[in-house]
């Protein structure tokens, strides 16, 4: 082989190597931009889903950690319901009604989130918040009561805003109870949600209902009282029989 042929051969090989490297780099760049785009979409999806379920749950699901398998846990449940809101709905413009309700939920959600709870259900003008459902929380009863006190303060502030706009003011009732429940993602077909099931949740709901009968805004059960320290001022209420319970249940009004 003469020198010219060798040079041609070498040049050709170099050219092929350069073309291969260029193609490889281009594919690597394409893959990177694809990953970046996928990450952006995943992040957007995560943020959107955070409107429907607790952020920690979304994080667990997106990370594929599989920690949302059903399990028994000690959980504190807080039910809150607006009083007289249904009749208010009949008088107000639908758009205004939804706007008042959304602002109310925003205020309540902030108060609950500040104390390590998360809202798991919104039904009409009612909400269910859980404390210690996604991870162990040794201060869950205290957190729930502090959240309820914060909700009370937030409602006062929100009512002042409503009054300034000459709109009707809101009143709520809150019931708090704790106990061992089953937590997990429940539902059928396309409609699933992270929630809890078990007798304690029924009790929490009944206690919220009692606030109406007893004329107070915030009631907790004996189980919650036992877990609280002396820093809270609790007033014992007369024991009341509730549906599904053979014995009357003792509740306490949380004053401060």
């Amino acid at each position: 082989m003469n020198a010219a042929a060798a040079a041609w051969l070498l040049g050709g090989a170099l050219l092929i190597a350069c073309a291969c490297a260029w193609a490889w780099l281009r594919r690597a760049r394409e893959a990177e931009s694809l990953f970046a785009e996928t990450r952006r979409k995943l992040e957007h999806l995560q943020r959107e889903f955070e409107r429907f379920a607790p952020p920690d749950l979304i994080e667990q699901l997106t990370d594929g950690r599989g920690d949302v398998a059903p399990q028994r846990r000690q959980v504190t449940m807080l039910f809150a319901d607006l009083r007289g809101f249904t009749s208010m709905c009949d008088r107000l413009d639908p758009g205004l009604t939804v706007s008042i309700l959304n602002d109310y939920f925003r205020h309540m959600s902030g108060a609950i989130g500040r104390h390590h709870g998360h809202i798991t259900e919104l039904v009409g003008d009612g909400l269910l918040a859980l404390f210690g459902a996604l991870e162990s929380n040794p201060w869950q009863c205290r957190d729930a009561v502090l959240a309820a006190l914060d909700m009370r303060a937030a409602l006062v502030a929100y009512n002042a805003e409503l009054a300034a706009k000459s709109l009707p003011q809101l009143q709520f009732g809150i019931g708090i109870h704790c106990g061992e429940v089953i937590v997990g993602v429940m539902g059928a077909g396309e409609l699933n949600k992270f929630t809890v099931t078990g007798d304690p949740i029924n009790v929490a709901s009944r206690v919220e209902g009692l606030t109406r009968d007893l004329g107070v805004d915030l009631l907790v059960t004996e189980e919650i009282r036992k877990a609280l320290d002396t820093g809270f001022r609790l007033r014992p209420m007369a024991p009341v029989r509730v549906k599904g319970k053979p014995e009357p249940i003792q509740t306490y009004h949380v004053e401060t």
Binding site: A28, E32, A36, E59, W139, D229
Partner: protein, 363 residues
Amino acid sequence: MSQLLNEIEWGEPLLAPDIDPAWEAELKRRGGNGSEVDRRVAPSPWLREACLGINTGRVCAISAHLFNVSALVTAQENACRYCYGASRAYMQMLGYSESFIRRIEQDVHLSDLNEKERALVAFCRNLARSRPRPARAELDALLRLGYTREAAHEIALWIALGCFYNRVSTLIAIPPERGFEGWVEAKRRWFALAGPWMRFQAARRRRGKIDPAASEAALRAGVYGPVLAPLAGLPGAMIMKSALDGAFASNVLSRGTKALMFAIVARSLDCRTSETEARRLLAAEGFSGAEIEKSLASLESARVPAIEARLLPWVRETVHFQTAQIQRRTRELAAAMGNAAVLEAIGVAALANATVRLAMLVE
């Protein structure tokens, strides 16, 4: 999903730099870089020693490459804008490509990370995040992949020290080293060429030897000895030990408050080993079992001086946090307690988080 650098909300610094010429000279002499952290923690002797120790610390069982990757991942998981930005710029300076760094940040692992390195990244994320709570099994998984026991312990130690440094920086809201970050960014092409040589030099500086002073007996002797004992021989172990001994010897906050802060972090992360050790410290301060239980249940204690009472609910918030929210709460704390007490509290909270995370792995 872990946040990227530009997604982290970061407030104004809580403390001004404390320029102490003697300490600045000492920093220079001992190879410190006189960072924003060094200047802001300067008023606390044990805290500034710990921060300097971390900046100049050495490793003997893991490579400098693994050290760099774990520092970046830990800072990102802890959403520490200061450390994350500095680690990122440091890696760029050492010639790591932007695409490699981005893949680590985005948790996208291609062929440039082997199985052991991928396991390390996952371990860093889990331990720093502690949600769900990590356990010994995670350390054992590293051993199964071929890491030696010393290497696995050294990785865990540096993640814990990273968590400490990240919390100190986050709670003080140390201003990011934008000058350094910008300088590295401007010279990226140059660092792409010179990086391998700089990486070699940096690895040489980071390389340490077994530390005879960090014997098992010496580590076991002090505060949280049972947690430190498995780290025997590691050069970084003495940083942790000195910080723990120094924090508990300092008299800026009462010893009972500090032990309670450790107990609260331990309970928050469900770590029995750490809680037992904190109870032992509290018992030595005269707390009865019932008093400890009551304090842990209520996050209050009659034995804690009134000015320090607000540290108990606050320290719980330092375990898992939203950066902007915890910086706001720490600012409120500083307004009520003063800068010296809050700096000490930040150090203790950061140390409690680091120690408990380490302890979870030996349970």
